[in-house]
């Protein structure tokens, strides 16, 4: 596929089409939707992290005036269906359904057990309080160590370890899966090494932290047709998941996505939707359900906590010769941590001739993890990039020099197998070196860190239609909720193909009945894969326009070409004026009727994304409190369609990663109850915590896309943990393996040990 290099609209910064609605309060998000006669739902949640449900008595709840319906696990027989998500594997609907409403056991604090619908929210909440549940409380497995112990409490007695077998393992287990990837001879590699560094890393569970809580309205009609209005990253997935979990015919389910107030992967699973549907079925009324923030923390998201032990070896000249790593990722209550992606990403930036990486998916009595921006990669990259930093120190090499020496380039093999096509890691590293930030002087108590990061980027299924109006304006419809400016990008692509101004293209987010099947707004895929469908659909319109011109001119179609946004006649000596889009559009009714272009495709995996971040951190040694004083994010975007929104992804990902590195963590007490399910105690970065975040967009075209687009959304969260940790290492002399580097932890470490690099060195 040839990549375009000259653009009229792509690369400009028009105002987004949904912008005015969003700055005036008119945009309708999940909780903003209501229907006449609507009931309000409330969920009964487990106060125990691990317990067998002995009995559920709903009689007192049913007696509350205004209560119209109650649902428990008894109403939803478990399913064994799965939903396939292209390259991202399968979602187990049995687990998703049991997570939405517990059947035999509750597996974490906050696990839903029942839901009530009543004519007022107060009545629903009071009834929810009156649902009497008898529990047989079990010991929870709250840490990886406890979950992996020989006498561990077992979450799922039937669980066996999938993937690569664990030698000698028998009996019940909390290890849902194990995988390994390897290359060469790792022992021989380490034997060759002049320098070996090794360290242990631990990160806690953290939440995606979207500001909009989950919200849903479901209405079941007398004809059995179900409409669900919901805030989601994937309306088609909500449709198929609800149908699977509730044993419904998906043909009767329509899902209408609202504006979405952030997701970052956390609005892929269904939580409230199946409950609202059953409550609506039982009551015959529409049912609205909205989570509060505590529900969001306790029962949705988060991403895995993990434990990683990693070792890397290099020659004296900096050439990497070997690496080994073992990683254990918490899946939460059900299998499915991003352990595999973590293992594949760990060494994706470098050529390492000999490595062995093993990764475990471990269930614990915490909320079931959901995707979070480049799932798995930030943690394993913390390990790799921390050790690269230690290697550079041991070798007294410039950290960029060391990374450039080992950086993967086009034609190298990724650690997970395939050969890289055109990739931009080296260009990104060169851009770091040339950036004024890299050579700027540091102030007192300041340190600088740098780190790289990798993410695959998704492809998957997308559809688009472009309809041309007789006034020469166009509508583009896709099935991807717009989570950060994708409407604008899609309109710009139509403009680029048809030569009509961006303001005259109307981008529309369709629902499952009005848009062709389209996979999630996730995996950095919307601008890439759905964008490709939009371009193809616009090309389809352009081809039809060309044929109409031939018809108007009464010449053969092969005598008409499309050039510079207009149809031109190739007939020799012909003095026909070229026809613009609007000129042809004005004749539609007379030349064969309306023009609608369409495209649907299964996009290959997008071009891999590489990024590098530079972080300057200042430490207050008396309090252990640190502040990021300067930050630069550099990334290969392939081609930035709307550069402002590409920068926004880079800045936002960096801020989330900084929060992960410095403050964010799920805190559980010994009983397994989450102690900080609110924004006061789960401390996300605020405006006064951060500096401006400088960005540099590198553009190494991705050959799989007509404009060279790669995904941009996920990789920006990959480097920050290590970039911040490396800056902390510079200022304290201490290698922090445990996140977050919160003030109490930093104070404790800096006052009890000094300059202990905690690395081993051989030869």
């Amino acid at each position: 596929m040839s990549t375009r290099h000259h653009f009229e609209y792509v690369g400009t910064r028009p105002i987004r089409h949904d912008g005015v609605d969003k700055v005036t309060g008119r945009a309708a998000f999940g909780a903003d939707f209501s229907l006449p006669g609507m009931l309000y739902g409330a969920v009964v949640r487990s106060p125990h992290a691990h317990a067998r449900i002995v009995s559920i008595d709903t009689s007192a709840a049913e007696a509350v005036p205004g209560v119209k319906a109650i649902v428990t696990g008894r109403d939803i027989p478990k399913t064994n269906k799965k939903v396939w998500l292209g390259g991202e594997g399968a979602l187990d609907l049995g687990d998703m359904g049991d997570n939405a409403l517990a059947h035999e056991k509750v597996l974490y604090d906050g696990h839903a057990i029942a839901a009530v619908a009543a004519s007022t929210l107060e009545a629903a909440r009071e009834a929810a309080r009156l649902v009497r549940i008898e529990y047989d409380v079990l010991e929870p497995a709250m840490t990886l160590e406890r979950a992996l112990a020989a006498d561990a409490p077992i979450l799922h007695p039937e669980m066996t370890t999938g993937g690569k077998p664990i030698p000698g393992a028998t009996g019940p287990t909390n290890i849902a899966a194990r995988m390994e990837i390897k290359r060469g001879d790792v022992d021989a590699g380490f034997a060759e090494a002049d320098v070996i560094v090794e360290h242990e890393f631990r990160t806690p569970m953290v939440h995606q932290g979207y500001i909009e809580p989950h919200a849903t309205v479901a209405r079941v009609g007398a004809d059995g047709r179900i409409i669900v209005w919901t805030t989601t990253q994937g309306p088609f997935l909500v449709r198929d998941a609800c149908a699977g979990i509730l044993h419904l015919d998906a043909a009767n389910v329509r899902v209408v996505p609202s504006e979405i107030g952030g997701g970052f992967g956390g609005k892929i699973p269904v939580y409230l939707e199946p409950l609202a549907i059953v409550l609506s079925q039982k009551s015959g009324r529409p049912v609205k359900m909205v989570m509060d923030r505590s529900d969001v923390f306790r029962a949705t998201g988060p991403t895995s906590g993990c434990h990683i032990v990693m070792k890397m070896g290099a020659k004296r000249d900096g050439t990497l010769v070997a690496a080994s790593a073992s990683m254990w990722y918490e899946a939460g209550a059900y299998k499915g941590s991003p352990y595999g992606a973590a293992a594949m990403c760990a060494l994706a930036c470098y050529n390492v001739p000999n490595f062995f990486v093993e990764a475990y998916d471990v269930v614990v009595n915490k909320p079931k993890v959901a995707a979070y921006r480049a799932p798995g990669s930030p943690m394993s990259t913390l390990a790799t990039e921390s050790l690269m930093d230690e290697l550079a120190r041991r070798l007294e090499m410039d950290p960029i020099e060391l990374r450039l020496k080992n950086a993967v380039a086009t034609g190298d093999h990724a650690p997970y197998g395939p050969k890289y096509g055109p990739i931009g890691l080296r260009q990104v590293l060169e851009a770091v070196r040339e950036h004024p930030h890299w050579s700027a002087p540091l102030g007192p108590n300041q340190g600088r860190g740098v780190a790289c990061g990798f993410w695959f980027n998704g492809g998957m299924n997308s559809s688009a239609t472009v309809s041309l109006d007789s006034d020469g304006s166009a509508t583009v419809v896709t099935g991807n909720p717009d989570i950060g400016g994708t409407r604008a990008a899609q309109a710009m692509m139509v403009s680029e193909e048809l030569g009509i101004p961006v303001e005259r293209v109307r981008p529309v987010v369709g629902d499952t009945d009005t848009a062709g099947y389209t996979d999630l707004s996730a995996g950095s895929r919307v601008c890439y894969a759905t964008g490709m469908a939009v371009i193809r659909a616009a090309e389809d319109v352009r081809e039809q326009l060309r044929l109409r011109a031939a018809k108007i001119w009464k010449i053969e179609p092969d005598q008409v070409v499309w050039e510079g946004g207009q149809a031109r006649s190739l007939v020799a000596g012909d003095d026909k004026q070229p026809l613009s889009v609007s000129a042809i559009a004005a004749t539609l009714a007379k030349t064969g009727g309306p023009i609608v272009g369409r495209a649907s495709l299964n996009a290959p995996m997008a071009g891999p994304a590489f990024a590098a971040h530079i972080c300057d951190l200042e430490l207050d040694r008396e309090t252990g409190c640190s502040k990021i004083v300067r930050y630069t994010a550099i990334q290969d975007a392939g081609k930035a369609v709307h550069p402002s929104y590409v920068e926004g992804q880079m800045q936002g990902g960096a801020a989330q990663g900084i929060g992960w590195a410095l403050n964010e963590e799920y805190i559980f007490n010994a009983k397994g109850t989450m102690e900080n399910p609110g924004f006061l105690d789960y401390r996300m970065p605020v405006a006064s915590d951060l500096p401006m975040i400088d960005t540099v967009i590198v553009e190494v075209a991705n050959p799989s896309h007509p404009y060279g687009v790669r995904g941009v959304g996920e990789v920006p969260i990959v480097p920050p943990l290590a970039a911040v940790a490396n800056a902390m290492r510079s200022v304290t002399g201490i290698r922090f393996g445990q996140m977050p580097m919160s003030p109490p932890r930093v104070l404790a470490e800096t006052t009890t040990r000094r300059e202990e690099p905690a690395v081993a060195m051989s030869s």
Partner: protein
């Protein structure tokens, strides 16, 4: 649940218009605005006063409407996001948020714009640091705040130009 005690009748001014609504004594101003009055531009992110998504002005003072009881609006003036644009014309803050792409998902945007309006009302020429600390009560998870701060500072500069 709803009790037999009759609901409270509140007469207030919202965005310059007289408005009446009925509420329970324990209802928050946020609930009244969204559910009783139908102004859903004010968002609920936490209901504990930590995220700023529900920011409104009460008699010119910036408050999280989730921590104000609805009956407290009696006889007072409330400004919500719906009242920031005047006569069909966007406020410079709204214009600058659009120009700077200072929103991604947009759920925090109404709260930020109301909070920033309250800032410019008391400090028409804030420094970056003043803007960052003033807006520290508003959480945004998408942008990293960079473009929001730039939009606020540019809106301040634009407002200054107009008033000079």
């Amino acid at each position: 649940m709803a009790t037999d005690v009759s609901r409270i009748h509140v007469e207030t001014t919202i965005n310059g218009e007289p408005v009446e609504f009925l509420c329970e004594g324990h209802d928050t101003l946020l609930m009244a605005l969204r559910d009783a009055v139908g102004l859903t531009g004010t968002k609920e992110g936490c209901s504990t006063g930590d995220c700023g998504a529900c920011s409104v002005m009460l008699d010119g003072r910036l408050v999280p409407s989730c921590l104000v009881l609805a009956p407290e609006a009696q006889g007072r003036a409330v400004t919500t996001i719906e009242g920031i644009a005047k006569d069909g014309k966007l406020h410079p803050l709204q214009q600058q948020f659009l120009q700077h792409a200072a929103l991604q998902c947009g759920i925090c945007t109404p709260g930020f714009i109301v909070a920033a309006k309250a800032l410019l009302d008391v400090n028409s020429n804030p420094t970056e640091s003043e803007a960052r600390y003033w807006l520290a009560g508003n959480l945004c998870r998408c942008t990293g705040y960079d473009k929001i701060i730039r939009a606020v500072l540019d809106a301040a500069a634009e407002t200054q130009k107009v008033t000079v």
